[in-house]
């Protein structure tokens, strides 16, 4: 099996390094919280690893039965996007519950505050 062409390797590296830098910059400016950055950083780091260390890429390619190494890279990109989307769905579900509880609490507390004193128990 041939390795990545220089062209493919440079392109994949540029994408990975730019993503890595972008995420770090967003965290630095506090536009992205550290807790939500790790999956993106991991994605970029693994991408770099697969590009620069060909034996690993070849091993994975053979393992999953892909035809060319570049297919493996693309497959991993898709898998990571999937993982990130699921990660966000879980976070959104948690936030939905928290918003629901807050709204209920607000409704109950303000009903209590508005009630005439005789109504309070």
């Amino acid at each position: 099996m041939d390795g990545l062409t220089l062209h493919q390797a440079i392109f994949a590296l540029v994408i990975a390094v730019v993503s890595f830098g972008l995420i770090l910059e967003l965290v630095r400016r506090r536009r992205l919280r550290e807790e939500y950055s790790w999956l993106w950083l991991l994605t970029a780091a693994i991408m770099v690893l697969l590009v620069v260390w060909f034996p690993l890429l070849r091993f994975v390619t053979v393992l999953i039965g892909a035809v060319t190494p570049i297919n493996t890279l693309l497959l991993f990109a898709v898998l990571f996007l999937f993982a990130i989307a699921v990660h966000y769905s879980v976070i959104i579900s948690r936030l939905t519950t928290q918003v629901k509880n807050l709204a209920q609490e607000l409704a109950l507390v303000s009903a209590r505050a508005e009630a005439p004193p005789a109504d309070r128990r």
Binding site: T96, T97, K100, A103, Q104, L106, A107, L108, S110, A111, A115, D119, R121
Partner: protein, 238 residues
């Protein structure tokens, strides 16, 4: 026994007044709580004028969340028995005493109003009958109970059950078949009693557009996962 009637309502200004009046006439000494689910109309004001206590959610969260808000209030204020009915006039307030009586006499922990027991006036359409039959079958498979009306939102609960449904897992969108199954599996005693239900007098049904498709999907998923979930042990935590 200290009882409370909960009515979740969303944009029901045209109907909520009659519903509250009907409830007060049926059970004069039981306080009525209307949970206004972020209505854009005068639902809260109309309900207050009709003599209900009103709790307002800051935005629309769905009937399940509105009802749960009422349950949370009932837990905090120590009610022994809570009955719930819809704010759109589909449920007959005259059947409330029968539901409350089941709880008061400790015949069951949950009394469910079924429109299909006894003299049924309600005739659902074909699609809805298929759906109800399916969920009734599923409910029977995962519990030991035959429910005649799995989509009923007309019910009464005792204090243990109210505490149970006021916890985290209670569904935020639709809450019927899966709630009955979870309650049954948690070891509560459920009993169906005949009630009257009427077709909606105008307004927009919760089951419009694509909503029924989501409803069926959600219930299938939720009912199938119910036996695999751990909530059933939550009861012992209280």
């Amino acid at each position: 026994m200290k009882s409370l009637i909960i009515i979740p309502a969303f944009n029901e200004a045209g109907r909520i007044g009659r519903v509250v009046a009907g409830v007060r006439a049926a059970v004069p000494d039981v306080p009525v709580l209307v949970v206004d689910d972020g209505s854009a109309d005068d639902t809260a004001a109309v309900a207050r004028r009709a003599g209900a206590r009103v709790v307002c959610l800051p935005f629309n969260l769905g009937a399940g969340v509105a009802a749960q808000t009422g349950y949370k209030l009932a837990v905090r204020e120590g009610y022994d028995c809570v009955a719930q009915l819809d704010g759109d006039g589909q449920h007959e307030p005259g059947d409330l005493p029968a539901l409350l009586a089941v709880i008061e006499r400790r015949e069951a922990d949950v009394a469910i109003g079924s429109r299909f027991l006894g003299a049924a006036e309600y005739r659902p359409g074909f699609a809805r009958r298929i759906g109800m039959g399916l969920f009734s079958l599923l409910a029977w498979l995962v519990t030991d109970m035959r429910f005649s009306d799995v989509t009923s939102g007309f019910r009464a609960l005792n204090a243990d059950v109210v505490r149970f449904v006021a916890t985290e897992w209670y569904p935020t969108d639709y809450a019927d078949a899966d709630v009955l199954i979870t309650l049954r599996r948690a070891g509560f005693r459920l009993k169906e009693i005949p009630v009257r239900m009427y077709p909606r007098a105008g307004g927009r049904s919760m089951h419009a557009g694509l909503a029924p498709v989501y409803y069926v999907f959600k219930m299938l998923l939720s009912v199938s996962l119910a036996p695999l979930r751990r909530e059933t042990s939550a009861r012992k935590g209280h």
